[in-house]
Every structure is written in structure tokens, then in C-alpha cells.
């Protein structure tokens, strides 16, 4: 019975985040509760089970039973994610300001790399932000020009599953549901650590320009 889900299973075992954008067919299969139970049954001997973010917009595999070495692995993984958190939040801000969007990037948003490069090129403040971004360990790029730096950023985002590129030879990318996961994780940290966020934040640069 699991034969038909071979591809999805392999993706999940490989550590993929399955969402509507990245794996539309597989994601649809996972909406069925019986399918999810079959998966859990199948994954039991591998000490794994299906897990999702609170809204169920992205699925991945979690450990079923935790042992000290597995906790150690999770702890290390969390540290890695934390290292990428600030660069990722900065990237979200950069993308939002570059595109002049009212909202933070969200799943299904379409990004055109060339278009973004042109906009950043023409704006010294955005150029500076990108420069700072590619100096972080997560995005590091040796390139001096905006095009090369942005290419590195996009490549990193794609390899970490945040962007889906429908056509290899074209420059548009779709934001995947993994961004939801990152936002949920950020929210979790905020709640756990009781971090206070002021509703009346200082105005962004854009507001000042208006």
C-alpha cells in the first residue's frame, strides 16, 4: 500500500520539508488522515513519525522516541538553525523593502531574481543591506557585485528549501512553506523567552521617505 507513496517517503526521509509549493502532489496526499497513519505505521521501526508546523502548511519527519544522543543531535540542529535565524530575518526585511511589499514574504510569493537585483542596484540603502547580508556565515558570498551576491543568496535559499525554482533556466522562484516553519520557530522562541515586542515600532526607512 505504501508503494504509491515511495517518492514522498524518500523525500521525507531525506529530510525534506513538504509543502504545497515544493511538492504539490505529495502535499495533497498528506491531507488524508489515513495516509498519514499509514506513514506513521511504516516509519515506526525507523523511530520516525510525521510532524508539521501548527497550521499544517509544512510537513517533515520527527523522532518518535528521544534518546540522549538524539537530543544532542536536535540541540546541535537548533544551534545551526539559530545561526541562520538573524540572516533569514534580515533577508525577509530586505525582500520586503526591495519589493515595496506591505507584508513579510509568505509561501506562494513569486520572486524574480533579476528584477530584485535591478531594484537593489539602484538603491544605496538596499545595496548596503545586501552587502551586510552576504557577510553573514549563512549567506557568505565573495562576489563584489549585486547580481553575484543575490545569486548566492538565492542559491542558499533554494538549497535550504526556502525557495522553489520551477524552471532551472528562468529567474523566478516561489517562496515555499518552509518560511512558515521559520516564522513559527521565531514565534516559539519569542513566546518561550517572553520577549517583548513593541507594537509601535520605529518607522521603517520606507515610511521615512514618504
Amino acid at each position: 500500500m505504501m508503494m504509491q507513496h515511495g517518492y514522498l517517503l524518500e523525500q521525507l526521509l531525506n529530510g525534506a520539508f513538504v509543502c504545497e509549493v515544493s511538492h504539490s502532489e505529495a502535499f495533497r496526499q498528506l491531507q488524508n488522515e489515513q495516509t498519514r497513519e499509514d506513514f506513521d505505521q511504516y516509519l515506526r521501526p525507523l523511530n520516525r513519525r510525521l510532524a508539521s508546523n501548527p497550521e499544517g502548511s509544512v510537513w517533515f519527519l520527527a523522532w518518535r522516541e528521544l534518546s540522549p544522543p538524539l537530543r544532542e543531535q536536535l540541540s546541535q540542529q537548533f544551534k545551526d538553525t539559530l545561526d541562520s535565524l538573524v540572516p533569514m530575518l534580515k533577508l525577509l526585511q530586505l525582500a520586503q523593502e526591495t519589493l515595496g511589499h506591505e507584508n513579510v514574504l509568505t509561501a506562494n510569493d513569486i520572486l524574480n531574481r533579476h528584477d530584485m537585483a535591478a531594484r537593489i542596484e539602484n538603491n544605496p540603502s538596499l545595496r548596503e543591506q545586501l552587502q551586510a547580508l552576504v557577510q553573514t556565515r549563512f549567506f557568505q558570498s565573495q562576489s563584489d557585485d549585486v547580481g553575484g551576491q543575490l545569486k548566492q543568496v538565492f542559491d542558499r535559499l533554494r538549497s535550504h528549501g526556502y525557495l522553489h525554482q520551477p524552471h532551472k533556466d528562468r529567474h523566478h522562484y516561489i517562496v515555499t512553506g518552509k518560511i512558515d516553519y521559520l516564522i513559527d520557530l521565531t514565534r516559539f522562541i519569542r513566546e518561550e523567552e517572553n520577549i517583548y515586542i513593541d507594537d509601535e515600532l520605529p518607522p521603517s526607512q520606507e515610511d521615512l521617505l514618504e
Binding site: L46, R71, L185, E192
Partner: protein
Amino acid sequence: MSTLDYHSEAVKKGVERLKILGRHGELLMQSYYGVAPDEAQLGARAINQLMDANILERLGEASGLTLSDPVRQMIVHLIADEQRRKVNADIGDFLLNIRKLVTKIYDAEGKGNYQGSAYWQAQLGQEVDDLNSRIATGIKSLWNRLNTDFAFVSSVQEKIEENEKAHNEVLRWLDGLKLIDFKELIKFAGSNGGLRHILVRQLQDQVSGHFGSLREVQSRLNELMARFRQQQARNLLVRGMLQFFQDKPNFQPSDYSQRSHVPDLLNQAAPLYPSVAIALDRQHDSQEMQQLLARLPARPEREAEALSVAQPVLAQDDATILAKRRALHEDVVSFYLSVLDQQRNQYALDYLHASELDWDPEIWIYQVIADYQGLSEAEQGAFHLHYKEVEAGPFNDVRLIKDVELQLLSEGLS
């Protein structure tokens, strides 16, 4: 459209009749507002044209000309005030008017004044049309706002406020529609066919349609509101947390992985890469295997590149590997010394077995050859390596080294 036959009968007829509508526009609007057309002034020819075109109709022999239903509907849509955003769902007023008109109709009929009764019925029809168009326009305006995601305001906060306003509009309409009591209307209509048609069939259909649309709008508004609130929360979260991390660059959250309950968000299993290979011993798959083999693309010459990206050996493994390699080398040196000491040729594998060393035979032979090649020219001159080879297969000329014999040359080490 390009395939449309402009000379067809249907097109000609349509154009002709639209012209009739235009020619009698004023008269038709008067009729819509209840002024019966003056038939004498209009003339028999025009009356026939209008009736043939199903624009005007005569309900009974004695009654005057009235607008046909489709034309009335069309006028309702044409004059609907699209700009009307402030919905005044004053259905109470509407019901009051209906009650008054019904009383007038029955009064007139009681006095045998059928022309009066027809006039008031027309008024009643308009009252219903008017309510209908007000609600339809209101719903259309709500959909417009919904479908554009309230694009006429820019900030999420304003969108949330607009959504709340729209939501209140829907609630007012729904509350208003609930005031319409069809039991009462059925009683009003009694056995009067005309009234029954307007108040029961027509109005009830329309009202139930509006209920459906309003519920749909309501659920869409709720969805949109949830999305707006989520977006607002996300925007705030990203900006706020970035600010926080910038203010406190050394911030370290606690290690959630050590808790008794680890939330799913932090419990991501390590990747597992399943590997598979073709089962070469399954005879009945040989056909497929051959096809697979034939389909394999030519191997690109990128070996060198592939090597440069190979994972470096982990540091902690280095020491053990080096120690093993050194031990192997020392054992091979002992083999060479043994040949020297005993002054006779020896096979590498024989020595391996005799010394009870547990090196893999293939690795052993490889190391014997490697160490021979590592000797200085003078030292190499003291020995000769004989390769004991076999062909890999009857049709394969590759020669496999099965063993090597180390021969001590007579001159020995000079």
C-alpha cells in the same frame, strides 16, 4: 466574435429590437414608475412592435400595457446605484410600505376599481425590485472589496478596519432579511395570483438567494480577516525579533531539546538516505537490466571535479587510519626483511598466512607492490617482483593480480 455572422436573422432582429428600446426609452421608464403608456398617442403600429418584441405586455383583455419581466429586470440593473456603499438596510420601512400597498390593493378591488388595483400592484412590484436591487448592489460592492483584498487602503491595519466595516454591513443585511416573515406575506397574498407572484414566489426566491450570497461573503470576510491578522502578526514578529537580536547580539535561548516534551518544531529527525542497487542475480530481470544499461548516458569526464568536492575525512578518524597504515607498512617491511634473511623467494600471500597477519589479501598485495615502488633505485635492484596474473574472464583481457612473488636477486644489496 470574428466568426459572428452579422447578416444572420438573429443579429438583425436583435439590433432592430434594441433600437425599439432606445426609441421608446422615455415611455418605458415612465411605465417602470407606474405611468401606463397612452396607447392612442403611441399608435397601433408601435404598440404591436413593442409587444412583438416582448417589451410591453398586456396581462388581460381589459388591462393596460405594462413592462414585461425581462425588461423590468434590465431596468433594475441599469439604474442600480453602483456607488452606493452606505447600505441602508432599512427593511423595516420596506415591510411597512408593503403592508400599506397590500391594503390599498384590497381596498381598490373591494370597490371594483381594478385599474387602481393594477396600479398599486405595479407599485408593489417596484418596491420589491428596489429592495432587491439595493441588496444586490450591496453584495456586489462587498464582493468588489473582497476580491481586491481591500486594495483601496494600503496598510494592513486599515484593511482590518475596512474588513470590520464590511462585516457589520453583512450583519445588518442578514438581520434585516430575517425581519421578512413569509408566513405574513403568504397571508397577504391570499388567493390573489398577482400578489402571490410578487410577494411569495419572486421575493422568497430573491431573499433566499441573498441569504446564500451574504453567508458566502461573511465566510470569505472571516477568512480574509484571519489572513490580515496573521500577516500583521508576522510583520510585527519579524521586525520586533530582528530589533531584539540586534539589541542583544549575545542572546542565547534555552536548549529546548533537553525538555521532557520537545515540540515538533524543534524535533526534526536526521536525514536518512536509502541506497539501492540492481540485483544482478535475478535472471528474469536481465532484459530490463540490459535496457537500463543501454539508456545510461555517457559518463561525463568530470572525475577530477567530483574528487575535489569529496567530503574530507573526519579529523578524529585520521589518527586511527594513519596508525593502521603504518602498521601495514611495517608488516610489509618485515616481509621484505624475511626474504632477505632467508635468502629465498616468497609469495606475498604465503607469508601473510604463515605470519597469521589479518590484513585483507588484496590490501596486502597492494601494499607489497606499493612498497616495492617506494624503494630507492638501488634497493629495487636487489629484488624482483613477479606478478601472478589471471585474465578477468574469457572475453575480458583485464588481468587480475592474484599474488606476487618477491625474488631476491643474486647480487643482493650492494
